[in-house]
């Protein structure tokens, strides 16, 4: 697990917020970023996320490798959009201002470039938000806080169990992979498609079946310790919402409303500099 984001304990204003506050803010932020194509708003959001990044004292080493990886995929996506639909910009903005010839019938125009810039910007506003959310939110506190916003504690607990067992399952996975490799079952690139499926099965099946055994053991253990006894439960890691939490929730919802208001003021989610 070299390339994986994880929570890191730090003492910053962002870390101190409740998980649920961060979840609401994150969802409001994501919805805004999904809905809007208004370049001005996206630009503001992008700047804001850089500010938040600084505030959370996140180190580049925590997120850098993954960020580069995402950037790579984004570029592929942007290139794909151009080759699939070089006229998408014109379709959206209504004008056609050719800039330069790319290859064959493909011509890049200003509208397409601007549209793709907006796509990039959109991702650039969401990606840091996810980074922030994961590296600043304690998973247990998060599960607890889901319950606070009315989501059944059973679902909250499913999430807690998932997070609790990911390292164990990953351990199992590596052990099984090694033991099978010693038997000659490898995930090599040279093999034929059929044997790749077979080899995957030889690693995946024991993993899944031991997972099924584990489901029985864990549910017995939980039952013996009274899980599901009452309609409500309390949480060791639960936090009360503080003033700061309410403030953050209010501000992020307000931001969403204003941003979407501005976006749709002209009846269209796109900001059009071409007319």
């Amino acid at each position: 697990m070299a390339r994986v984001l994880t929570y890191e304990e730090k003492d910053t204003a962002i870390h101190r917020l409740c998980g649920v506050t961060k979840l609401i803010a994150f969802l409001a932020w994501s919805v805004t970023s999904m809905m809007t194509y208004d370049t001005r708003i996206l630009a503001v959001m992008f700047v804001l996320s850089l500010v938040l990044y600084r505030l959370s004292k996140t180190k580049w080493s925590q997120v850098g490798p993954i960020f580069k990886f995402i950037l790579f995929f984004l570029c592929i996506n942007l290139i794909a959009i151009f080759f699939f639909s070089p006229g998408q910009g014109t379709k959206i903005y209504g004008t056609d201002t050719p800039l330069f010839h790319v290859v064959g019938p493909y011509v890049m125009n200003a509208e397409q470039l601007f549209y793709e810039f907006n796509v990039l910007l959109k991702y650039m506003t969401v990606v840091p938000a996810i980074f922030m959310f994961i590296v600043t939110t304690n998973p247990s506190e998060f599960a607890a806080s889901l319950n606070r916003v009315g989501i059944s504690y059973k679902i909250g607990y499913s999430i807690a169990i998932a997070l609790r067992y990911i390292p164990d399952v990953q351990d199992d996975f590596n052990q099984i992979k090694n033991a099978q490799a010693a038997r000659g079952i490898e995930m090599s690139k040279k093999a034929t498609f059929g044997s790749r499926i077979k080899n995957t099965a030889a690693i995946m099946f024991p993993l899944v079946f031991s997972g099924m055994d584990r489901i029985d053991v864990v549910s017995n253990a939980m039952e013996l310790r009274g899980f599901g006894k009452k309609k409500k439960r309390t949480w060791y890691m639960g936090k009360k919402l503080e003033k700061a939490d309410y403030a953050v929730i209010a501000v992020s919802l307000l931001f969403m409303v204003i941003a979407l208001g501005i976006t749709y003021a002209d009846g269209n989610r796109f900001y059009n500099p071409f007319v």
Binding site: V63, A160, I166, R196, T200, I215
Partner: protein, 184 residues
Amino acid sequence: MKLKFGIKEVVAAGIGTALFVALTEVQIPLGFIPNTALQPRAALLAFLAAVFGPIVGGIVGLLGHALGDAFFYGSIWWSWVFPEAVFGIVVGLFANKFAVKEGEFSGKNIVLFNVVQVIANAVAWIVVAPVLDIVIYAEPANKVFLQGVWAFVGNIIIAGILGSLLGYAYTKISGKSSSLAKED
């Protein structure tokens, strides 16, 4: 329909998600087209939904995809997270019919499982995913539908082969045993 969400289902959703996330790493490259790979985790989701029903299927799809994306790729493509949940729910609706836990997953049940998984994959990847891509990201329709069809093909292959095998092997390896005769 298995609409119960008791302790076993809570745990199955949690550990199922952990398995799904761990399997995110496993990809089977197709070989003949570069940079494309089948995702065995789709077979796992089909299996779990077939055993535990639509609620577990939906949660594992949603949470597993979101967490897997977030942990490994640092970003969540919501337009591809929801279809995963849709797939889990649709397959899970028929959980009682498959009878995997009862050890009767063979013959007719496997055929039914495959009919259901093909339909579920079609709904998820040819309908829901591209529509969400267009609504959320305003991406070009032809691109997202091609991507959707591509995902559909990959997932029906993987769920069809690995998913069916997984269900079958489970009933034979961990399921109930019946009386058997030794052979000399």
